[in-house]
Symmetry: C2
Subunit: 410 residues, 2 copies
């Protein structure tokens, strides 16, 4: 670590104290010495690693330095949103540097971080509804600015890495149907159906009937309209209700991108829902974002983007199946596909900046950019993962012997 003074920078605040400098250098160590530098309000530069920094983070006043020292993840996000933190270099590249360095961070740093994951969030039915409303009821108009034409707000599947977003989202819907081996006339329970793209796709392309649950009012309204427009309203029922209230028996269960909002404390409840919903020959698919190891949510993300959410490690999810004698048949990790999906979203988002700012404000634009860019960095560096778990009842013969059929068409 080196400290130097940039020329020609003026500030009315006093220089940082020796203690503040010392704490900042400790922070660089906890971060694993990424190849970046901090530039303070008085022009002073603190490099986190030897050699020329590949990106610079400007801390524009003493208050934001102190906030970063006290709670780095949350304060970085807030400072970036508020313009009290500036950057030299690309936001996402800088985040990748920081995420990669965490492999070199001292082990105690990750252990301290893990302690925070011992406290689960409790998402009662009303709270679950509020949390979902916070994110998904921002307005369909907003999401239409940067999602694909069907508003699929989950990881796409790039059978060809150079595929476009629309193609890759259709490929994901297809992949889910193929994994579930849906047959015409079967019934499917979907929990957390977003704007309904998967439910409608299954009904249209596999000839199944679908009951799809979601607590987001705006999404359900959109999905019902889409079902009517596409002539599928008699085969897809969109229910504005919590997944825990699902009743009936089905040939298949599917949930794409909901587990993140369920909260660890409620995994057994989700297991009960699946168990009572699935026929003897039933099979199911759970698609969710995971962490490479059990760690708590990033506090900034929890506060501003996904209140009540929890991103589990795979080992935290499996007891949900094991407790109900459900067999895990196939787990696929699509981490790189989510990084690519998010790159498409961020590119579209940046093109729609002005319209987003008109809908909300500049601070919102910066907040959402940070969310998308940091998610790309997290998936690229493997701190987050995307898992698809295909399961069936223990001892079933519902699925073929091999996965060959999944790829036979390609």
């Amino acid at each position: 670590m080196t400290a130097s003074r940039e020329r020609g920078v003026e500030s009315t605040e006093t220089a940082p104290s020796a203690f503040e400098r010392w704490l900042l250098q400790r922070l660089c160590g906890v971060l694993g010495h990424p190849q970046i530098a901090f530039v303070l309000w008085n022009g002073e530069q603190v490099s986190a690693a030897p050699g020329a920094p590949r990106g610079r983070i400007h801390l524009r006043d003493r208050g934001i330095l102190r906030a970063v020292l006290a709670n780095p993840e949350r304060a970085f996000g807030e400072g970036y949103m508020d313009g009290r933190i500036g950057l030299d270099g690309d936001l996402m590249d800088l985040l990748v540097l920081v995420f990669r360095a965490s492999d070199r961070a001292p082990r105690w740093a990750s252990w301290i971080k893990r302690l925070g994951s011992l406290v689960p969030a409790f998402n009662t039915l009303p709270r679950a509804r509020r949390n979902v409303h916070h994110h998904y009821d921002l307005g369909n108009e907003f999401y239409a600015l940067w999602l694909d034409e069907q508003l699929v707000y989950t990881c796409a599947y790039f059978a060809r890495p150079e595929a476009g977003l629309e193609e890759a989202q259709r490929a994901k819907l297809d992949l889910v149907c193929r994994k579930l081996r849906l047959r015409a006339g079967e019934s499917v329970l979907e929990t957390g159906c977003g704007w309904g793209a998967l439910a409608l796709h299954m009904a249209e392309h596999c000839g199944v009937t679908v009951r799809a649950f979601n607590v987001s009012t705006e999404q359900i309204r959109y999905a019902r309209d889409a079902a009517r427009r596409r002539g599928l309203a008699d085969r897809v029922e969109f229910v504005e209700d919590d997944y825990r209230n699902a009743t009936g028996r089905y040939d298949a269960f599917v949930s794409v991108g909901m587990l993140e909002h369920v909260g660890r404390a409620h995994y057994p409840a989700l297991g009960r829902v699946i168990d009572r919903a699935l026929e003897r020959h039933g099979r199911g698919l759970l698609h969710f974002i995971g962490h490479a190891q059990p760690i708590p949510m990033n506090p900034w993300l929890s506060r501003y983007i996904f209140p009540g959410a929890y991103i589990p490690a795979l080992s935290e999810v499996l007891p949900l199946f094991e407790a109900r004698k459900l067999e895990v048949m196939d787990v696929e990790n699509l981490r790189r596909h989510y990084a690519r999906t998010l790159e498409h979203w961020l590119e579209r988002f940046e093109k729609a900046n002005d319209r987003v700012a008109a809908l909300y404000d500049e601070r919102f634009v910066r907040m959402w950019r940070l969310y998308l860019a940091s998610s790309i960095a997290a998936f690229r560096t493997g701190s987050t993962q995307l898992y698809q778990i295909l399961f069936a009842r223990a001892g079933h013969e519902a699925l073929p012997w091999t996965r060959h059929d999944l790829y036979a068409g390609g």
Copy 2:
């Protein structure tokens, strides 16, 4: 449950007491009322479920009834070996009935069973060696009587369910190589290499060099001979040593059928071995028998077949990877393939009965038959699973975007 008296059966022992009958009926409940009946030494029949029994278990003296009541799993196995328990109907079909019924067993029965799994076995280096010697040093001549031509003593892969055993074992070796995406010139660490079939296959068909560990003296001797015969001795090194003593860095790690013998207490040690062995771009595959949920080993199997072994649930294995920032990329469950593999083994074993009895004795024949038949029943009913976990370092780009290439050739 009904009790009736068979005609024409004589016994010098007194009839079972009311208390013994009551306990036997409780046992039927704990078993989930399988469609079987117990026939006691005095001809009395106790049906475990209403309706005609689909198989009968003869308990030929009071001592074996009491032993079964006290410790059903172990005593059944011992009684069968010793001829104190006889069967009407096929052994495997009867075991399938019992295994399937366990789904209907009271929850407390499975919870009591699970308590036993809280105590891990400690396999020190000398004990690990003794445990392996117990099973794998029975003599290559014995295994050659009922395994395939290459002595592959792990789950085969039936790309076509009607494939023969030799073809399916070669297909398994191929599948492992394809999953690992081995390239010519790369180096591989294999731990627990059996008679060396996989190591030799990788060297011969993928052009890699292999260092393969095993503590079984007989197997290592056989593997070294095979390497010389096949002209691969310069590319495959068979090391008679514990996996924990493996050194060096490799492009790939593979272990097929060893985890079962590692013991839960030593999973972190295996994680350390993998972590220090793998290059930055390295990837690995762990192939092992799992349970659908965490339960202790069957006590008969632990005593007579696999001392020191533990069959983990998937959730118990994953922390091994999560603690070392290794990403799980792909999990495939090949349960039905292991049932089919075992059917081939049992068929060959039954044909070689006389030669096995000449090598050992009739009791050994019955012991081994029970082991193979109960394993078939366990895999068919889903109480045991076969998992292949493909993994890599978090954030790697070592594996392709999709699994399409695994199936492109078929």
